[in-house]
């Protein structure tokens, strides 16, 4: 990641945050608004981050993956289904049910990716078509099973959606606690306590969110510091060169696409097991494609992709937080009241980024090209 890109990302995030602070200042203290924005940004960036990492492993190995959306949707459904089975049919408590759900989400993402790998590596199908197949298949399978299992009388769940196991509990990292302790040394003040509470808000996130951040760091390490990463990048850049030094190109591509699918699967789990305790058809709502844009904007690097995901997260956080301040929006900013306008922000950003306005990004040289011996 070049510094220009980072600076641009910081700038966009600052502008988005600034807009909300400006609007909400009359009602809330800026620090509370910023903390709330930060917390939401990190939360909603989770599926984007995981989706972008998914794309990253696929494309670094030379397989274009526009099926992230479908992989996430499939995983969201099957993860949720597994959790419900565990809790309502087998009678497991909530947490184990949810963890089994996460496991199945990852597995189902991996299976969808296996299909994508077979199509694009073994059968050398056009990878855009392959990804489209994944997306359409995901909509079909999840929509069909959702109706058959829950809304048809005589089905397993007898025509009703059973009470699910809820969502994964947030984990609080006691940063706020530490801040409070430091506050104590100086004699407790109002603003110090506010700051501590804000920290508690930011550092209370779901386990998948924490996992996503750890996975960013891990992905960077794997891609750039290990044998696996070097070989993955080589088959994405110059597969013949990799072949001539005895690297099995097909095997590397399969492995990376499946790994990517599993990451997308974890991203899918976020929707139904961490964010909300239910499944709705089409609930990923284009997140997989935004994740793809984040990966491109991040120039095919984990940290870049993460930073870009945070930009999109911030845009979404702005949309969510603006709704709170609906009544105090000044008349000249009235158009912001229409939440749809604000809701467009992530998509407009995606388009802007893809036009290359913020500088050219360079994909792996063999990205999307099947390897012919």
């Amino acid at each position: 990641m070049d510094w220009k890109r980072f600076l641009f990302i910081l700038l966009v995030i600052a502008v988005l945050f600034g807009a909300v602070v400006l609007v909400g200042m009359v009602k809330q203290e800026p620090i509370i608004i910023i903390a709330s924005m930060l917390a939401t940004t990190i939360t909603v960036a989770t599926p984007l981050t995981l989706g972008a990492l998914s794309g990253l492993f696929c494309e670094r190995s030379g397989v274009v993956n526009i099926g992230i959306e479908g992989m996430m949707l499939t995983a969201a459904f099957f993860g949720w289904l597994a959790a419900i089975y565990m809790s309502s049919i087998f009678g497991f408590p909530a947490l184990p049910s949810l963890l089994v759900g996460v496991f199945f989400a990852i597995v189902s993402g991996g299976l969808m990716a296996l299909l994508h790998a077979a199509l694009s590596v073994t059968f050398k199908v056009d990878q855009i078509i392959g990804g489209t197949v994944i997306n359409i298949l995901a909509i079909g399978i999840t929509g069909f099973l959702n109706r058959q299992l829950f809304f048809e009388s005589g089905s397993v769940f007898g025509g009703t959606v059973p009470h699910g196991p809820g969502t994964l509990p947030n984990i609080l990292i006691p940063v706020g606690q530490g801040v409070k302790a430091i506050c104590g040394w100086f004699g407790p003040s109002e603003s110090c306590l506010t700051f501590a509470n804000s920290m508690d808000k930011i550092f209370s996130q779901g386990p998948i969110t924490y996992a996503a951040i750890l996975l960013v760091i891990l992905s960077h390490f794997v891609l750039f510091k290990t044998t696996w990463g070097l070989r993955t990048r080589s088959v994405g850049e110059h597969p013949r060169a990799a072949d001539t030094v005895g690297i099995n190109v097909a095997k590397m591509r399969y492995a990376n696409v499946i790994l990517g699918g599993m990451l997308a699967g974890l991203g899918g789990a976020y929707f139904t097991l961490e964010s909300v305790p239910s499944f709705e058809p089409l609930m990923t709502n284009g997140r997989g494609f935004i994740a793809l844009a984040a990966m491109i904007f991040g120039n095919w690097t984990p940290f870049g992709a993460w930073a870009a995901s945070l930009v999109f997260g911030a845009a979404q956080a702005m949309q969510i937080n603006m709704q709170v301040f609906r009544d105090v929006i000044p008349p000249q900013w009235a158009f912001l009241q229409v939440s749809y306008v604000v809701g467009l922000a992530p998509y407009i950003l995606t388009m802007l980024i893809l036009t290359g306005i913020i500088g050219k990004t360079i994909p792996p040289a063999a990205d999307g090209v099947p390897y012919e011996k």
Partner: protein, 508 residues
């Protein structure tokens, strides 16, 4: 002594590809510490044989012996283990990786079994580069290195894997003469340290200069093995092509007629906006060859692009057949009688996925008889292709085959056939024989002389001094975007031209 010990031997290798017997009962052996050249035209089966020895293909029949023991090579991993390293014609390097990353790829030095130890690799690379005189910086990005240095990286890559047998596939094709000299020095250095080298090429001069033994292949068969002492360029060429080849061009006196092309103080900018052609003036007459000599990158490419309507001119004029056609697009130029054989035949001369027949009408497809009222006329296009294939001796299974399937020489013939098949007044040939084999070069040269004798004006641009001297009637030397001097081809020496090309000013 180990001098005559055979380290690698192939016996009776046969490899069949769909439609081609690429290797037919091939025997080949390599002695310890020798440079054994494998000579042959494009498509003779040299690269197939080497790909079998390197494990990229597997032979249908025949055996390979390493130090007298039979060995099965099924993948490049097997051959690397056997101590065989190959430097491919198109480098197998990842441009965005560092030198060290490229060298270690597939055979990484690690800590804890998976973490790359770049320091250890860099140390090993520096050791090797010192040991063999292969100067290279392990941290440099490969894509930013000159071609000659990239080749060194490839050689170190094989040495890093402890290769004692080195296969170099057309290593000089991409090098400047100086870089080639450097490579030869390195090759001697390597053989002195016990490495045995198989050197694949189709350049006769190089073979005689550096090889200990020469094996010639033609049409999948070994024709014979000779030493440089007992052979000559002429004999080798005959072995390669299968008939006597005329290495020197036989041409009579030129009969210059009227002026067909007049270039007057032409200025051209390159893609960065720099002035790379600076006030160039010259003229080409009907029935003469004007050769433009010069080291590559002195504005020749941009000059030709401007003359053929592919690049805008900054100022100056171009008169073609008496008309001012400065800055006109290619179509009116073609219709006035300009033929263009471009520098990069695959990118600018052909549509690779189109058939031979379609490529032969790329400049005339829109007018009768090939199109009527905007509808293509397949019969006329096919008939045209069949005629041209016969007339220009294009070796193709059929006119409907994609032109990408043809060898380089035949691709060039397709272009020449297309360009010369309509009324031509001027032929602009830019590097017309680059990368071609002896037989094709001979053919193209004869064709150029034949055009001249038919009263066509020829502008020949080439970086090969031999080619310029052999074909031109007059020679213009280009240096730094300017024509330094124009001389009579019969009254100038190679040395003198070389000096002018390097920037010396003619005394006057």
């Amino acid at each position: 002594m180990t001098e005559n010990n055979i380290v690698l031997e192939a016996r009776g290798i046969t490899k069949q590809f769909p439609g081609v017997l690429a290797n037919d009962q091939v025997d080949f052996d390599l002695r310890n510490g020798e440079i054994h050249a494998l000579l042959g035209e494009n498509g003779a089966g040299k690269t197939t044989l080497m790909n079998i020895l390197y494990g990229l293909y597997h032979q249908d029949a025949g055996e390979v012996f390493l130090n007298g023991q039979p060995i099965e090579i099924h993948s490049s991993r097997d051959s690397i283990k056997a101590g065989i390293g190959m430097v491919h014609q198109h480098f197998m390097l990842v441009p965005v990786f560092s030198v060290a990353e490229n060298i270690m790829l597939g055979d990484e030095i690690t800590r804890l079994g998976m973490i790359l130890d770049e320091k250890a690799v860099a140390k090993r690379v520096l050791e090797l580069s010192r040991q063999y005189g292969l100067d290279v910086d392990p941290q440099a990005l490969v894509g930013q290195l000159p071609v000659g240095v990239q080749q060194r990286v490839e050689i170190i890559k094989t040495l890093y894997r402890d290769a004692s047998i080195l296969i170099l596939d057309e290593p000089t094709a991409v090098l400047t003469p100086q870089e080639a000299e450097d490579l030869f020095r390195i090759m001697h250095e390597l053989t002195e340290r016990g490495v045995s080298i198989i050197f694949i090429t189709h350049k006769l001069k190089e073979v005689l200069a550096i090889a200990d033994r020469i094996t010639v292949m033609r049409a999948g068969k070994v024709i014979g093995t000779v030493t440089p002492k007992e052979t000559s360029e002429q004999k080798l060429a005959t072995m390669m092509v299968g008939r006597d080849v005329i290495l020197t061009v036989d041409k009579g006196l030129s009969q210059p007629g009227e002026e067909v092309l007049k270039v007057d103080r032409l200025k051209v900018h390159d893609f960065r906006g720099l002035e790379v052609v600076r006030e160039v003036s010259f003229e080409v007459r009907a029935g003469e060859v004007l050769g433009i000599a010069g080291v590559q990158g002195n504005g020749q490419t941009e000059l030709v692009e401007a003359l053929t309507g592919l690049r805008p001119t900054a100022s100056g004029r171009m008169l073609f057949a008496g008309k001012d056609l400065t800055g006109k697009p290619p179509r009116p130029l073609t219709e006035t009688g300009m033929a263009h054989v471009p520098e990069d035949r695959q990118r600018h001369g052909l549509v690779l996925n189109f058939s031979v027949a379609d490529n032969m009408v790329l400049n005339t497809y829109y007018r009768p008889p090939f199109a009527r009222f905007g509808v293509m006329q397949p019969e006329a296009i096919d008939a045209n292709a069949r005629n041209l294939v016969k007339e220009f001796d294009v070796r193709t299974p059929s006119p409907f085959v994609a032109v990408s399937k043809l060898s380089g020489g035949n691709q060039q013939k397709v272009i020449v056939a297309r360009e010369l098949s309509h009324g031509v007044k001027l032929l602009l040939a830019n590097q017309p024989t680059r990368g071609l084999d002896v037989g094709s070069i001979e053919y193209i040269h004869q064709e150029i002389v034949a055009m001249r004798d038919r009263g066509v004006g020829v502008l020949l641009v080439s970086a090969e001094l031999d080619e310029i001297m052999a074909l031109s009637d007059r020679i213009a030397v280009m240096y730094h975007g300017q024509i330094v001097t124009t001389v009579d081809a019969k009254k100038v020496t190679r040395e003198q031209l070389g000096l002018w090309m390097a920037g010396a000013r003619p005394e006057e």
